[in-house]
């Protein structure tokens, strides 16, 4: 009886996917940097996930949902006019810049002061897209490198270099802000 099957499927989906709603919403907020766009994207993500739940074979629900959310967000990027970011604009140029450059300027390791979440979220929002995504997947959504590679559809090596670059940029922006505050 297909109706029963559908109900069971819906129930299984509810149990498997809904616990990750906050995680998916968090990623959407960082990817789109807009609360209402994020809500729309998350809703679309769950609709698509339910539709494709039959073909879901694992390995883990969270990276699978993230991969779907990414596709939704990419469509949103395409629709949206390009918004320049404060720290780095073109990913291509960013890959060429040596990433330890920022630290050579100030060799001593300045101690970062604890900041409120809002200030740090702003710094993360200012990272250019592929770096921001990798950073958020690792540091906030706690995915392993392999899971990030899977969700983002890139090799693990790319995940590693993007993450190194993202953290170097974030730290540079953070210390620069603290210098200014002094």
């Amino acid at each position: 009886m297909p109706a029963i099957d559908d109900q069971q499927k819906a129930e299984r989906f509810r149990e498997a996917a809904l616990p990750y709603l906050d995680d998916v919403y968090t990623l959407a907020r960082y990817l789109l940097r807009d609360a209402s766009d994020a809500e729309d994207a998350v809703q679309e993500c769950y609709l698509r996930a339910l539709k494709h739940f039959d073909s879901y074979r694992g390995p883990a629900m969270k990276p699978w949902l993230f991969a779907i959310l990414r596709n939704v967000c990419n469509a949103e990027y395409a629709r949206r006019a390009h918004r320049p970011s404060a720290i780095e604009d073109t990913p291509g140029a960013a890959e060429q810049t040596p990433m330890w450059q920022e630290n050579e300027a100030s060799p001593e390791t300045a101690v970062l002061r604890s900041r409120d979440a809002g200030a740090i979220r702003k710094l993360i929002d200012a990272l250019a897209e592929p770096f921001r995504e990798t950073f958020v997947l690792r540091e906030i959504n706690n995915l392993s490198y392999r899971e990030i590679a899977e969700a983002a559809g890139v090799p693990v090596g790319t995940v590693m270099s993007r993450l190194a670059r993202a953290r170097a940029m974030l730290r540079a922006a953070w210390t620069a802000e603290e210098e200014q505050a002094r």
């Binding site: 559908d6 109900q7 819906a10 129930e11 989906f13 509810r14 809904l18 616990p19 709603l21 906050d22 995680d23 998916v24 919403y25 968090t26 907020r29 994020a38 809500e39 998350v42 809703q43 769950y46 609709l47 339910l50 040596p98 990433m99 330890w100 630290n103 060799p107 390791t109 101690v111 970062l112 604890s114 900041r115 409120d116 979440a117 740090i120 979220r121 993360i124 690792r138 540091e139 906030i140 392993s144 490198y145 392999r146 590693m160 270099s161 993450l163 190194a164 953290r167 170097a168 974030l170 730290r171 953070w174």
Partner: protein, 254 residues
Amino acid sequence: MTCDEAKILLHALLDNELDAGHAREVEAHVAGCPACAAELAAQREMKAVLADTKLHYTAPPSLRARIEASIPQARPQPSRRSVLRGFAMGSAVSALAASGVVAVVLRQDDQQRILSEVVSAHLRSLQAGHLIDVVSSDQHTVKPWFNGKLDVAPPVIDLTALGFTLVGGRLDYIDARAIGAVVYKRRQHVINLFVSQTTSTERRPPRTQTMQGFNCRRWGERGLNFWAVSDIGGDELAEFVDKFEAAMKANVEG
């Protein structure tokens, strides 16, 4: 290792993503390179500050409600009265669920730590001379060896005929407790089966996780926790666990 490589790999070191060999290489480079040492310290510090900050967002309740509504309901539409009652129930249930989520998250953190200890123990065992304390392919030799060394001797089952050769047993330490490790081989690959006592008698179905390139399948049965760790493929490890469980069931019932 060059500084360029170290500047990327030190992040993998911080994230616990490196195998033992690469971790040693990065540590050796950092020990002799002040610039990379400073970078590692700075990144470690930033990671600690970030970990202390709430960077997660919480989905708005209206979004949750909309998504809930878009998933087909199992029951027919309830009357208005029962909707209200359901609402009151619903908030009690979701409060429970929320606390359940916290418990699950905490337990997962704990399990993540134990998993990493299990993988470390597996790695240690692969170093020369650490694999086996009692060398025997005879389960009637290995099993009594554990008696008196542990509160509960692990089940020792010979699976040689099924393609997994019993090679011996060892005492190991996980989560600050002595536990038994039963060692099997599949071709040239070592499988460590760690067994510890637990207060929970609830059966937990097997689940595979991957850490540092090792597959770890863990499950719980009859008051024991099991972790099977190996570098063999996930499906082969699952086969091992299936055969072990079937043999254990047959032993208990037979």
